[in-house]
Symmetry: C2
Subunit: 350 residues, 2 copies
């Protein structure tokens, strides 16, 4: 029971539409629901998240005095490490303490940082370039007998990649960036994260080594780095999280550095800003940030774990998300988009 | 200026990520942003929404005493008309007055209706079947010289349909419902609404008349009918709206009856329920509904209009959403999913 009640990130998306919660309990017969697949995954299919890879933001308590903590998991190598290094420095310097949530735009983002834009940044922040939005990796490109494309990413990054299909197609939201022609890009899950890829050279049958650009995907709850107009890429001092339909047009245009794994409701349920782009028009509307710390430096932080995206249970879960066969459903869709298969994250049982 | 400030539904999705709002104003040179295309659309490209096609829900005022009104546009024929007929009867009978918002599940839905499930329904509600989730229409199926599929829906419903492409593919989230093989289904915009379609007979070149099932799509802000387990399809007394990433797996599994065109922030910013599926655990947490009326019976209701999805400006807007070329962007995506192209709706200028 403990396990089920602590399915934090993923539980939000599983439910159907009973008139009351009890009706759902009557359901679930032949085919397990995605949530049930996750709940029965083996212990070794879960991967512990190091506290040093968490960013813990404590907001001022709510109107009833209840604490509001938001826990963010930072992305692993090789993605966005320059900005993440900056974020570690900013947290160590307590830069965000006393700043605020300044923007809440419905169906888009919540953004936080220094509203005055005058607070001094700590020394030694890296300056990143637009080229850092994507990470080149070598992949093994093979064409199998059915004509399907490459399926494994190889050294130097040793990234596993379960290529994800929308129905029986590769992710169609990965264009070649000129808005016209397309190369066989796609998306998938790698080390617990949704990523997209696009070959930077066209793969040819039998040629094993090619280079692909890979990048994280703007799904609900992902955390990114606010910036001004290009070529500025932002330092990491200004952050946002997605609280609406996946704004995939931001992929490769802004750095993604992590995702909210607990407490996103403290951001997504904030009053919407009435200024341009959802910025608050007065200081009184902003939500104060008490502190932001790397998890290893935060008090009272539980341990977290995610379901390995390379596990059998994740594959079954993804299939069940794309083809709902549990009793509430009549027509399985036959496909799902990558942002509708959130990677399960939960508190680790003691 | 009036026009721009009243871009209600669509404005929320256009913005990029400046550190402050002023920076955005410096932008926008060569290519207009989607919002600018909408703002400069011709008057005759906008379609007035009849007050009789609006459903107006007044919630109890917020903690500061401010009124909270949610305006819903009901779907036109031929979609979901049985449930919409019930909704008209329920509103006329003032069924929802004194009921409440009972469920708020993060990144999923807000649901409202009679929490007691004991309130008597008005007489004469239609009983709908699962077959009513989709609407058969005749379409013209042609295959052009490049091998592309059908492109027009023909009588009896006279539905225009601008078939929408994800990148250069048809919508991959339309499967044939058995989760395995697929037919060439897709999605598009018709009379101002996002709809999906799937041929119920395989189209053959040169055979003009085929039947396709069409149905509305679960995008952000769409309003649907809560139900119990199949074969129940719900009466319309229990309604929900989407407040997260498009739950496309619900398409063809629940009836969609409309979309929120103003005031969704009064629902999406409500505290999340802590019970199973986001249901509130106590009555005190529920938001009271003062009244729900058809627009023609509501007081102080402004006029609304939507941008014709058959207009040149909509085509330009959809293209710009899929290929952001305004100055903030470096890499146009080359595609967008249908739920990331919300149909612009605004208050009609006097």
């Amino acid at each position: 029971m403990k396990k089920i009640s602590t399915l934090l990130v993923c539980a939000a998306l599983f439910a159907a539409f009973p008139l009351s919660a009890q009706n759902e309990a009557e359901a679930a017969k032949t085919y397990p629901a995605p949530s049930e697949i996750v709940a029965t995954a083996k212990a070794q299919e879960w991967v512990a998240i190091a506290p040093s890879d968490l960013l813990v933001m404590d907001l001022a308590p709510d109107a009833k005095g209840k604490p509001r903590r938001v826990v963010i998991q930072l992305m692993p190598e090789p993605f966005s490490q320059g900005w993440i290094g900056n974020i570690r420095k900013l947290a160590a310097a307590k830069f965000w303490d006393g700043t605020s949530v300044n923007r809440v735009q419905d169906n888009y983002v919540v953004q936080w940082g220094d509203a005055t834009e005058k607070k001094a940044l700590p020394d030694g922040l890296a300056k990143l370039g637009e080229a850092d939005y994507v990470t080149p990796v070598h992949f093994f490109a093979g064409v199998d007998s059915s004509g399907k494309g490459f399926d494994r990413i190889e050294p130097p990054f040793q990234l596993p990649l379960n290529i994800f299909q929308f129905g029986d197609q590769l992710d169609p939201l990965v264009g070649d960036g000129n808005g016209v022609s397309r190369k066989p890009g796609g998306s998938g899950f790698s080390n617990g994260w949704p990523v997209a890829y696009l070959p930077s050279t066209t793969p040819a049958s039998g040629k094993p080594q090619h280079v692909a650009d890979t990048w994280p995907v703007h799904c609900y709850g992902m955390v990114g780095v606010g910036r001004n107009l290009s070529p500025d890429t932002g330092t990491g001092a200004e952050l946002y999280t997605v609280i609406g339909h996946a704004p995939r047009h931001l992929d490769r245009n802004i750095a993604l550095v992590g995702r909210v794994i607990e407490g996103i409701e403290h951001l997504s349920s904030l009053p919407r800003g009435t200024g341009a782009l959802g910025f608050y028009e007065s200081e009184a509307e902003r939500t104060p940030i008490l502190s932001v710390r790397i998890g290893a430096d935060a008090s009272d932080l539980p341990a977290f774990e995610y379901l390995s995206t390379e596990s059998d249970s994740f594959a079954a879960y993804a299939d069940a998300r794309a083809n709902r066969r549990d009793p509430f459903f009549i027509k399985p869709a036959g496909g799902a988009d990558i942002c509708n298969i959130p990677v399960p994250v939960r508190r680790r049982a003691n």
